[in-house]
Point group: C2
Chain length 251, copies 2
Amino acid sequence: MQVTLTALPGIPIVRPGDDIAELILEALDRSGLALEDGDILAVTSKIVSKAEGRFVDLREIEPSLRALEISSIVGKDPRLVEVILRESTHISRMAPGVLIVTHRLGFTSANAGVDHSNAAGSEDIVLLLPEDPDRSARELRERLSAATGAEIGLVITDSHGRPFRLGTVGVAIGVAGMPALLDLRGRPDLFGRELRVTTVGFADEIAAAAGLLTGQADEGMPVVLVRGLDVPTGNGSAADLIRPPERDLYR
Amino acid sequence: MQVTLTALPGIPIVRPGDDIAELILEALDRSGLALEDGDILAVTSKIVSKAEGRFVDLREIEPSLRALEISSIVGKDPRLVEVILRESTHISRMAPGVLIVTHRLGFTSANAGVDHSNAAGSEDIVLLLPEDPDRSARELRERLSAATGAEIGLVITDSHGRPFRLGTVGVAIGVAGMPALLDLRGRPDLFGRELRVTTVGFADEIAAAAGLLTGQADEGMPVVLVRGLDVPTGNGSAADLIRPPERDLYR
């Protein structure tokens, strides 16, 4: 079994209003690749956010009292804290330099995914995650399938830090045209006994694999074609990957 | 940029005392593959454990009072709980059906990685993780490099569940011949500003990518060759991936 991960070459810096489907189709063309049934495209959330114009100018943000209080604990710009709070439903942990929240989309991550590192040429411009990455994934997938006739899966990726472990890894924040989780419960093992509980974070493993190519500082390779996996049919969403609060002992 | 993930075919069910280096070299031979500088091999911990004979027969385990107490909370076999406690340094969380511990190797995971699903043909036989997976990774890498002349990286993988997110993903519990973390701090972004903090869990992303092929119930494909990454030199270890307790807000 062989799987190939191909970073599509020559995707330009994305600007608000850009048509990502068109940019991907052009990049496929340029590299002589045609989408095939069963292919999965992993697309960084950063370019989706940029195309959606999800920039916020901190100079226009008035921090609330709560943002000021939290800012004094975590030592971050109170305007940035205000933006993070607006994107969040729950503060999970805070400490000097650290603000971990439950994003309004359901997942838990540092700074609600608000990107202050590479968003634009200004210290005052930050980039939010896409408004609804599952919807963005569905729309992008539909555009690409309509243009190519191929039944593909699509994952929109972000990089998250983790409890217990150092280093960020790619995770899926938008999924379309494929399952997000693979449920191996009940599949017999080599000795014929039933496996008890094995649900695999399939879309997250796709995102982590794509992260090996997209890296972090290299916006030149935001789209990775994953080919050769035997992907079960299904229409999952990134919401499937969220551990329900009542089953989360660490929230 | 293209990366290929190739599951080595025809690796037999591993038994105590088997020589995994030899099994891998034979599988490479059979598939006409020769290791090259910069290749990374991802090997499931399960076959390393089996070769190391890390089986425990629960019928020989006398649960301690503490194991009996914890067993009554989590609803697991007290003999299994005893084995888990012997492999652990700290209980992170417990609840009915759930026992999350800090393994003596430093990482935090369910059941200390004690495998009760597929270890052998008996309900009473469980499989521990390798005794020292970083050492196993170094030894295996040295054997393979000596036999082939190729400078390779090697990752020993396990599957972990996670706080916040559903589904297991592959993680690295042994690393040799490559960095475990990639530090992108200070690498300039597209606009020339310094990225603030971006440390990527490189070996974990390798393990997650390999997990796409090795699956969970499919012991037939426990070794994945990762080719085409531009891997920086370095001699990391899986210990590098452990978040120090004082920097872990969720321990």
